[in-house]
Each structure stands twice: as structure tokens, then as C-alpha cells.
């Protein structure tokens, strides 16, 4: 049972960084796409509409993605 729990929780763990990274990735893609379409930087409202996630959650995901990147960067250098 401990093993199963460990497996489930590990999966959950992966999902945290995965889901934040995925959100950050989608926001970055939407930003680029909207910038092309609008000819200017999109606002948070436009981004949030495109990604389907609240403005606050988008900034959390982007900070988390930046953190993960800066934490991992030295490891891969």
C-alpha cells in the first residue's frame, strides 16, 4: 500500500511542475501569437482569455517556470 501511495503521490508531484510548466508554455505561445495578430503586446486580459486561465494563475505559472529554469540551469551547464 505504501508503494502504491508513493507511486500516486509521485505522479501527483510530477503533475505540479508539469501543469505549471504547461500553463507557462501555453501562455508564452499565446503571447507570441497574439502579439503577431495585434501588432502589440497583449494585455493580461487578452492572454487569460486565450489561455482560459485566470490572470493570477498565469503569473504564478510563469514565476514557477522561471524558478524551475533557474534552479536547473546550473545542473545542465
Amino acid at each position: 500500500a505504501g508503494e502504491i501511495r508513493r507511486f500516486l503521490r509521485d505522479d501527483g508531484m510530477l503533475k505540479v511542475s508539469r501543469s505549471l510548466k504547461e500553463t507557462a508554455g501555453r501562455a508564452a505561445a499565446a503571447r507570441e501569437q497574439l502579439e503577431k495578430k495585434l501588432g502589440r503586446e497583449p494585455t493580461m486580459e487578452e492572454l487569460s482569455g486565450e489561455v482560459g486561465i485566470t490572470r493570477e494563475e498565469i503569473v504564478l505559472a510563469m514565476e514557477a517556470a522561471a524558478e524551475v529554469e533557474s534552479l536547473h540551469r546550473p545542473v545542465y551547464q
Binding site: G2, R5, R9, G12, M13, V16, R55, E56, L60
Partner: protein, 148 residues
Amino acid sequence: MEQTNEMMIEFDSRSCNESFARVAVAAFMTQLNPTLEEVADVKTALSEAVTNAIVHGYENEIKKVTVSCSISGQVLTLTVSDKGVGIADIARAMEPLFTTKPDTERCGMGFAFMEAFMDDVQVKSAVGQGTAVTMKKRIGRIAGEYHD
């Protein structure tokens, strides 16, 4: 060694700040390396307590809501406080389905949700002085897996 870390947020009792409060607490608790589910649980419990402070405590007047947050070992402690009307009968208020605003979209399940999603919920309140709801949750997978 139990390392402790603390933060506090204080904000106007506007419902547009609920989302800010949820994200601030989520950002702080990422230090505990939580699962997605644990973050969602804490956000749900926090939302219920903050909504109560805004809707019941201040009856939609604009005053200050405070959320204190501390991490000790793997335990997250949250206290949501208002200086609003207070609760006369706490035990009754905490009963599932009990609500003093049955006309609105509230359904009397706020405290039940807090108790379901957190390990411990304590309410202190005094009529005319305000309410403080303290909730604890142990974050983390299996004992011994974290170094603290």
C-alpha cells in the same frame, strides 16, 4: 530541525482580491513541495474562509482581511481573520448546511469544506469583534522523504 517560515497578507475585502490571496498562499506553500491536489485543497479551504470574512464578517463593507501563513517542518498553518460582526454560536455555524444567508448562493457548506480539505480547523470569534479561522495541513508524501 524544524525550520519555520512566516508570511502575512492583508487586503481589502473585495471579492476581486480572492484570487490574489489564493495565488499568494499557493506561491508560499510551494516551498513545501506540495502535490497539485494539496495546493488545490488549501486553495479551496482558503477561498471559503476569505469569502466568509467578506460576505458574513464585513457584510460586503470594504475593510481589511488578513491571512497569516506559516510553515513549520511539513505543516502549513493558515489563519484567516476579519474584524467584522463575529459569530455568536460557533458550533452551530460549523454544522454542515447551517447558513445565516440562505437567500444567496451560499449553501452552508463552507466550514464543512474547510474541515474536509484541511487536517484541523479551529474558529475563534467574538460578536462585534471579529473572527479568526486557523487551519492546518501536513504537506508531503511519506515520512522521511523530506529533509527538514
